[in-house]
């Protein structure tokens, strides 16, 4: 069975002015979104207290919020956790003034949890506390810097590898597209204000790994075609490479997408963020492999002679007539 016509010869590079313009626009928009709206950092990064509460019967988020406000806990963030019977409640320790008095300036998680449970049970007796977390603020700051360092490490490591295995221009094109994919993924997360927690950070780093995978496959074909072709017109070669690998690019994305869909729908709230981020990343990464990476390569001026395997000069041969 074949979904894609193997003879397809869509002129992807012909649209390069538009596709790259769109990519640049998306990147700028993402940076603007991250700067203005910001990422909705989760407990892992902001520090604070978070609780998971289960109800026996379905519950409205608004009711939970109302119950908390009635109990004097005004600033709590209430979110549904997949389904109508489980909610997460996030707040800063200072939002529960009663719990701060007793402890010697330290956060008393048990006390806050007890306060919240009592407040919720006053409104709905079937509320049950399932888990509670406290994260100090400095831990979050450290994690954020760790995450940035890890992302930079990934990008530089990949760049070095491609530089050695391919050529300078490939490394640069890959890294620019990588940055594009990461920024746009983060931008979408900022746009929809999805909670950005530790698993989402892991997912963003995994997106980098996934999307580079895609680019390398196309690059590999470009190298191969350049080496094979006698008359190598770069634009023609790049276009043929994208078309030749198109079926693989899309099938792999579909397969990975399927598994992430399974994770999203059945994996439970803990991995929701992970799966959705990965899905966003797969779409962005696939599109940029097709529409963005090669135009950059073309503009950087890739040519046949840069890619020929280095053969040892044989002085004996050179002397022969």
């Amino acid at each position: 069975m074949e979904i894609f016509n193997h003879d397809s010869n869509i002129h992807f590079l012909g649209m390069r002015k538009y596709t790259v313009a769109i990519a640049i626009f998306l990147m700028v928009a993402s940076v603007a979104l991250i700067a203005t709206k910001g990422l909705n950092y989760g407990l892992d990064f902001t520090g604070g207290v978070s609780m998971v509460v289960d109800y026996d019967q379905p519950v409205e988020i608004a009711d939970v919020r109302a119950a908390l406000e009635k109990g004097g806990l005004d600033h709590a963030v209430v979110q549904a956790l997949g389904g109508t019977r489980e909610v997460s409640i996030r707040m800063q320790p200072k939002d529960d003034p009663a719990a701060l008095q007793s402890a010697d300036g330290k956060v008393n998680l048990d006390r806050i949890a007890a306060d919240v449970t009592r407040t919720l049970q006053a409104a709905r007796p079937d509320a049950k506390l399932k888990s509670r977390d406290y994260v100090g603020s400095e831990v979050g700051a450290e994690l954020r810097s760790d995450g940035t360092v890890a992302a930079i490490f990934v990008i530089l490591g990949i760049m070095a590898y491609l530089w050695i295995r391919f050529e300078r221009r490939f490394a640069i094109a890959a890294v620019i597209t990588e940055v594009h994919d990461t920024l746009v993924t983060l931008g979408i997360l900022a746009l929809v204000q999805r909670e950005f927690d530790m698993t989402v950070l892991a997912s963003v780093l995994a997106v980098i790994g996934y999307s580079i995978n895609d680019k390398v496959v196309v690059f590999d074909r470009i190298r191969e075609l350049f080496r094979l072709a006698r008359k190598a017109e770069p634009e023609e070669i790049l276009n043929r490479s994208i078309n030749n690998t198109l079926s693989r690019t899309i099938i792999t994305s579909l397969f990975t997408g399927i598994t992430m869909g399974a994770l999203y729908f059945y994996g439970g709230p803990v991995v929701h963020g992970f799966a959705i981020t990965m899905l966003i990343g797969i779409v962005v990464g696939t599109l940029s492999s097709i529409f963005v990476a090669s135009p950059i390569l073309l503009w950087l001026g890739v040519s046949k002679k840069d890619l020929m395997p280095v053969t040892k000069e044989n002085p004996e041969l050179a002397r022969r007539p």
């Binding site: 450290e142 994690l143 590898y161 530790m198 790994g209 390398v216 590999d220 397969f255 799966a275």
Partner: protein
Amino acid sequence: MSDFPRWKYALVALVMLFGVIYALPNVFQPIPAVQVTANRDAPPIDEAVRQKAAAALQQKHVVAGEVLVSEDGHLLATFANSDVQKTGADVIKDALGDGYTVAFKLQPTVPRWLTAIGANSMPLGLDLQGGVHFLMQVDQDDVIDKQETSYADDIRNLMREKKLRYVSANRNAGRGNGISVAFRTEAERNTAADAMAVAFPDLNVTNGPDTDGHFVVTAKVKPDKLRELAANTIKQNLGTLRNRINALGVSEPLIQQQGEDKIVVELAGVQDPAEAKKLIGATATLEYRAQGGSDAQAAEAARTGNVPPDARLYYERGTGRPILLSKRIIATGNELVDATSSFDSQSGSPSVSVTLNATGAKKMLDFTTGNVGKRMGVVYVERVVDTKVVDGKEVRVPKITQEVINYATINGVFGKNFQTTGLGSAKEASDLALLLKGGALAAPTDIVEERVIGASLGQDNIEKGFKAVILGLALVLLAAAFYYKLFGLVADVALFFNLVVLIAIMSMIGVTLTMPGVAGIVLTLGMAIDANVLICERIREELRNGCTPHAAIRAGYEKAWSTILDANVTHLIAALALTTMGTGAIKGFGVTLMIGILTSLFTSVTLTHAFTALIHGHRKLKTLSV
């Protein structure tokens, strides 16, 4: 015609066998159990204790699977689920009384023939089995404070000893900025600086700015020494925590250093963190006390309760031997600077060298001068603060335990430095050194992260994770078989074995399985098929270009290999970065991803190639089902 060598077939068969065997233990679900350990002073666990517990369970109508005495001397009772386990634990606790520690445990049910070859199931993370997680930050500043204060004392003493005149010797403002000593003349300063450099090799002595006729020397603790101290502090805190948490009776607690100054404590199965927090927050001190009576008198006092007026009755740690010590304290833990275990240079027996600061040294010297031949004891005092609610108000009730950790004869007059010799073994010496340091030097810790995960949430996560893995796998298997037909089926076999081998390796090296780890497994499944997609697409292409089926297979594998390698190496770099992140959850994900990439390289390429060769190898082919 087959170009696939025989040894590769053998390798593929071996890996498949290995995968199946080492992944197998994960099929056996552990069952909720209660583990009972006898405390020091309680009679050991035997048949009588077992019967008592079993009878109590029966009387309260709690259904237990098994109640047995394990080989390592614990009492184990297994239960059908975590609810029964909880009631069961309460019943056993009531029946046996205070002398025993009752803890939750997940009892593995892996058959012995598997564990004998080192095949164990993957340990589950807290998010999959419930429990408490603490992240503690060790206050390193306190260590620097103690060092600088102690050196300031020592410098003043040195000046006095060497009869060097100085104006002042004080710590500089700002932690870690060292100690400034001021002199009236330059000559005085230079002699003193030389003397200081000789006496304190761990200090960097430099000339400071000269202001209003004062010549200043600045002494800073060397960065190397500070680093060493910081590393030691963490080690001491880890050791102290381990001792205290063992008292909780939690089976397999995880106590680990994270980053430079943090400690992770994970207690699986614990649902009430209060008890654990109390022990973690305990403070310990040391007291050096003189002998307060003979052994006979001590035994007498323990029996009758009549303690001599100027003495106090203590018990020795471990042995429980009664010891009488004087009420007067010679020196305390605050005056102890260092304690290290080593070997006595004369007798070669294990010993502990102790260093006191100037004030402690003076008191010790005064005391030992008149008491050679007598004995001296070290008391380890631990203070646990319990918060109780009385009349609606929170009352803090300290609970103090005091134990003698060392009781030795004074062989000569000493002050700043002395040795405790004649210890039984090198282990005993290092234990004593650790206790001494734990009582004197351990830095205060703050809980910066606390998570309590309900047992039911853990069970939920396991079920959801399992469902997601199976469903993800099934969908990809179906899609691949549908799209690539026979080659798709071969890829399916490879993908299934990829999962098996991945789980086998994770179990073998003992990677803790967490929810992010499950996400990593699912992602690996989705991406592992990529190599097969590359190979199949390539074979199709070669067929279209007019290759014969056999040539197409060969060319497909050959040409796809370089692409697969490049794609996987770059992906591996990304996974590697994930494993360097300090926190557990991301690390678990990264490790899973990394192992998954490596196993998929083997299963998607070598394993499928073996199967393809086996199916197509010896037949004349006209077409390929791809």
